[in-house]
Symmetry: C2
Subunit: 348 residues, 2 copies
DNA sequence: TTGTACGCGTTATCAT
DNA sequence: ATGATAACGCGTACAA
């Protein structure tokens, strides 16, 4: 297999390499006929510019990285696909990397940036217990999406952040359950050890709602997913609910901080002979497509995934090209009232 | 932010660049002390070799690409994650690209290979209506995983293929339903326009089973997902089932060629007042985690995803390094009898 | 409008 | 054991 280089094409066309280069990169100062001929030859011989050489010359690649941390695939898969689509539009390539729960995403990013000379980074999920100093070391712009809370003492001008107000939206869901007459509301929460993880924020929202309504928090109703489990998996939800049931505390509603957790939990309820929503109302968080198809359909909080993913990518590109400054965008989530939660049965 | 190059490090250490290179790449002929000093300096100044320059010199990058085509995320997300893990182990980087249904994955692969000088390719899903000639143009090894049938006339030595025998496994599922006493078995199928797509194979398996049992095929029970829809989405399954129900043909069992389709279909049945499995038995295909958590849990065919993904990656790396030749591995799937399908009610 | 020549950061070959 | 230097393929300043 013969892989022609720019020189080969130049020789073939009887022109200099720079002319070929001009033809490829749409430079204005080139004779249309020459360009035409070159393009034809390129087509004929299947010439494709060597990206490494280009990047070497340009000193930075036309590429970004997406670092995905924790959380369930079901939620991120869509986002990644959308981001990938935006990259394609801009003729950027996308490097994807999943980060283990115990890995430091910023360290990883730093390595990646230097190695690959990336132009920007998207952090999906994950959390932000990082020092300002460390963040400064990242020489390219980066956007956090659907991440936990960022410490206040970090300069806003250093990063972008896109997501919903997890605490507020979570509170809204619990308020809704309270509005339905529920008082004994259990929660299944998955959270990282330290910092303001997304799970932590949602738990805070739960506390907020109870406090405002004058309901005392019953620690027996707060169930943490085991640290050893995949935080947002269905299995985690399943096991957590089992633990909850074994605990013996009664509850009329169960709120899981992710749809996947809720689905797992519903299975455990079913196996315990409990019916949803007749015996227990269940609600989730995220609004994955699936939530609408299971039966009973899941009451949940829907984050505008598509919008968030698209904006995340666009914002990063705009920052790279200098069109925009760093932004901190908070989207509104939407409470989806569906079948899995209903007013508490007063006869009980 | 100062980004040191190999020259800087050399100067800093008072040695030549080649010595630094030797230190980095673990060459034997270097004085341990010199190496020690160089490594320290590298650490101190945060030097990271420029990947583009490396790749330029080496003329091929330590990278592979994964091209994902069609099918539902739920199924591939896990595989991708596992493949990514294997890449990390080998210190390869992974380029991920989603292919639109109407794009040609081999063309795309070709472009990618040349542009990025990749060492190998993994095709996830997709189909294989490609000519031998075109495949030959791909100058790097590639492995098809969970793809449709590969035309017989293409030399086996050209590619690797990993998956299950979709036709046989599909037939097994329908045999199972027949064994349960079902005779009027509907099927929801999503297939590409041309060639032996995965959906097509599963449909053939359905035909096989019916034929062997002497059951006549009722075209009114074969429901194709609209070409305009995402082939393996829940929505597609939902709409297909609605169409099926509107068609008026009676059936006691419904087999969808993907779990996601089955889940969507179940929702449609529920909305039509039909109960699963009492009124209609439902079964799927794939064995995604979710199938085990919904209620009723979904009877399905489980493909050994983890094994397949891991072997796909390992095989590719082995071929790249010359350790192995191309392989064609067919895994055994597993029929999971769960709650969504039961023996036909004889009183009806 | 076009061609020549240099440099991007690295590795490999060849001297020393 | 180490250093100088030639590639790798491309973009571009500069000359023509």
């Amino acid at each position: 297999m013969f892989e022609p280089t720019i020189k080969d094409i130049a020789r073939l066309c009887g022109v200099g390499v720079s002319t070929v280069s001009r033809a490829i990169n749409n430079h204005p100062d080139i004779n249309p006929e020459t360009k035409e001929k070159i393009l034809r030859t390129i087509e004929e011989y299947g010439y494709v510019p060597n990206n490494s050489a280009r990047n070497l010359k340009r000193s930075d690649a036309k590429a970004i990285a997406v670092l995905v941390k924790g959380m369930s695939n079901l939620f991120f898969a869509n986002m990644i696909e959308i981001i990938e689509g935006e990259c394609k539009k801009k003729h950027y390539s996308m490097e994807l990397s999943y980060i283990e729960a115990d890995e430091d995403e910023v360290d990883m990013a730093q390595r990646l940036v230097k190695e690959k000379r990336l132009r920007g980074i998207i952090f999906l999920g994950g959390m932000f217990a990082h020092s300002e100093e460390k963040l400064k070391k990242l020489s390219v712009p980066f956007v956090f999406s659907t991440a936990g809370a960022i410490p206040e003492n970090i300069s806003k001008s250093l990063y972008s952040n896109i997501g919903v107000d997890d605490r507020r939206e979570s509170r809204r869901m619990v308020d809704y359950l309270i509005g339905l007459g529920h008082r004994r509301i259990a929660i299944i929460v998955a959270e990282a050890e330290e910092g303001q993880s997304i799970g932590r924020l949602r738990l805070e929202g739960y506390y907020d709602a109870l406090r405002e309504s004058g309901i005392e928090v019953n620690p027996g109703l707060v169930c943490h997913v085991s640290q050893k489990m995949i935080p947002f998996s269905m299995e985690s939800g399943y096991l957590a609910a089992k633990k909850l049931l074994a605990g013996g505390e009664e509850f009329t509603a169960l709120y899981a901080v992710a749809d996947t957790l809720a689905i797992g939990a519903e299975r455990a309820l079913y196996e315990a002979g409990l019916s949803v929503p007749d015996d227990v109302s269940v609600s989730g968080y995220d609004g994955i497509e699936l939530a609408n198809y299971i039966t009973p359909s899941l009451t949940t909080v829907r984050q505008p995934i598509e919008k968030m993913a698209r904006e995340t990518a666009r914002l990063l590109f705009d920052i790279i090209s200098g069109k925009r400054q760093h932004q901190h965008i908070v989207y509104e989530a939407e409470l989806l009232e569906r079948e899995s939660a209903k007013a508490v049965d007063l006869r009980k």
